[in-house]
Symmetry: C2
């Protein structure tokens, strides 16, 4: 069985009835499952996590965008989180027996349908991007909904699909394929935020660290400690264990212990297996030798 | 979905046709899958690994035992491995959404049917054992097929189910529930077998080490190194990572490096997750947050 994950973000975080209607649009697909969804009042934004068979998840996402376009009006939308569309962004992530290339194809087919059938300008981002400056979502989103009416006139920002005019109420949308993102935090036995900042700087890509690590120092005031808070944007190339060991070594430099660490949300099996393999020095082992994974691939082909 | 594993051992390792007929008896059950099977000529024994829905795997095992009873005659059986029955031993192991108690119940129901319907004396062993001296399989099997005609007359060795006389051609059988067993070896950068023996002694239960570790030193002559070869009989209580770290520390004592390690066969997801958690100091994490496991439990209930 092939499975793809998608984590669409919708610009509605206050009216639960609307969010549920968007989710219901996906629930009629038998081979699509909602793993999780959440609303954020301050951000005025909701995030849904779905997993499904490639064709069905593509259709489910189209139906969700259609409902979101009917229910959400960006002309009256206010929230802390930057946004440019009623459906703001739709990433596709390969999770089981699928390759990045297949997710890129799904994103392109869905983008074309959203452009043609719903009249919303579509930007392909990350691995689906048609030029380097469109890889980074925040660069596409810069100026937000309100700024896009001007931005879209710039030939550099001609949409990949759909009309060359912003949809009056639904704005524009970014669709793309990306790697699974792991949110990983390491807690330090100190309340000195400077140390967390220095360690974050040492391990993050932008200041000379690991290629696929974004990091910043964060104060956890109620606990009286600080944290190195990270996104690992490619856990295969900048793996959890290597980043963790680097942080532990940096913390030693300041005489500070690592208290514990936390993973927010879910991880792919491979991320856990690679950590085990590295620490107990296994050379010949992979996910196919985990019973639950074998069951998944044997019982459900 | 509930799943149980079973790894029955049959006393036929030379006639492939017979072994395939035994396996075919299980293949007619839709919710039972053969994960693996192997024959050993010298041992004259075959081992089959199945996973299945609790009721179906119980019925599949009964059918396999029935076919093995028809095809295998222990009066003419010779092989290096000790054996007491045509079907020698049937363990049941909880693998998905099942508890040890359920495996104990399955073993008892199957044992009763084998005793009553096939007229084979049955001994419950390991977690299913009805007295402490029946927990250990090798104690039950002592004397083997040939010795059992006398042994069974001892009131201490009255079978748990079935007749009080050995089946003339199929002998007796042990049925029981047990924990998943992990075969784990650590390779050392030396050809000195004494060091491997000393480390094995340090970590194994029998000589003062971990409660659920069996270990011995082994020479890998073609590689010019030695190995600490282990069975972890309860990976939850004597976990891989703790045993590995103890071995690494013992090896340091002799100035010997750990070159690498190997896991033979498969492991449960939990064993890998616990290793990752320990090394990267995760406090709040479990298998339910691994995507593949979530898929398994969401798509296939």
């Amino acid at each position: 069985m092939k499975l793809v994950e998608s984590v669409p973000n919708f610009s509605e975080g206050r009216d639960e009835e609307k969010v549920i209607k968007i989710i219901e649009a996906a629930q009629k697909y038998e081979k699509v499952k909602i793993l999780d969804w959440s609303m954020d009042h301050d951000h005025n934004r909701s995030v849904v996590t779905l997993i499904g068979e490639p064709n069905e998840i593509e259709n489910a996402l189209f139906d969700m965008v259609k409902v979101a376009t009917e229910l959400i009006d960006l002309r009256t939308h206010k929230g802390e989180h930057p946004r440019m569309g009623a459906t703001d962004v739709i990433p596709f992530i390969p999770v089981m027996n699928t390759k990045m290339e297949e997710c890129i194809e799904i994103s392109k087919r869905l983008g074309e349908r959203i452009g043609n059938e719903l009249n919303i300008p579509v930007y392909l981002y990350e691995k689906s991007a048609t030029s380097p400056e469109r890889e980074n979502l925040s660069k596409i989103r810069k100026g937000e909904f309100e700024g896009f009416f001007e931005k879209i006139k710039d030939p550099k920002w001609k949409p990949d699909y759909g009309p060359s005019e912003v949809h009056p109420s639904a704005g524009v949308v970014a669709v793309g394929a990306r790697e699974y993102l792991i949110a990983f935090n390491v807690n330090l036995g100190t309340d000195n935020i400077e140390i967390a900042d220095k360690i974050a700087k040492a391990v993050r890509h932008i200041s000379g660290g690991f290629r696929y690590v974004k990091a910043m120092g964060v104060e956890l005031k109620e606990k009286g400690i600080v944290q190195v808070s990270m996104n690992l944007t490619n856990y295969k190339k900048s793996p959890i264990f290597r980043v963790f060991e680097a942080i532990k070594r940096e913390a030693q430099r300041y005489g500070v212990p690592v208290i514990n660490s936390e993973i927010i949300g879910m991880i792919p099996l491979k991320a856990a297996i690679e950590a085990m393999k590295w620490y107990i020095q296994l050379d010949d082992f992979d996910e196919s030798r985990v019973i639950e994974n074998k069951i998944l691939n044997t019982f459900f082909e």
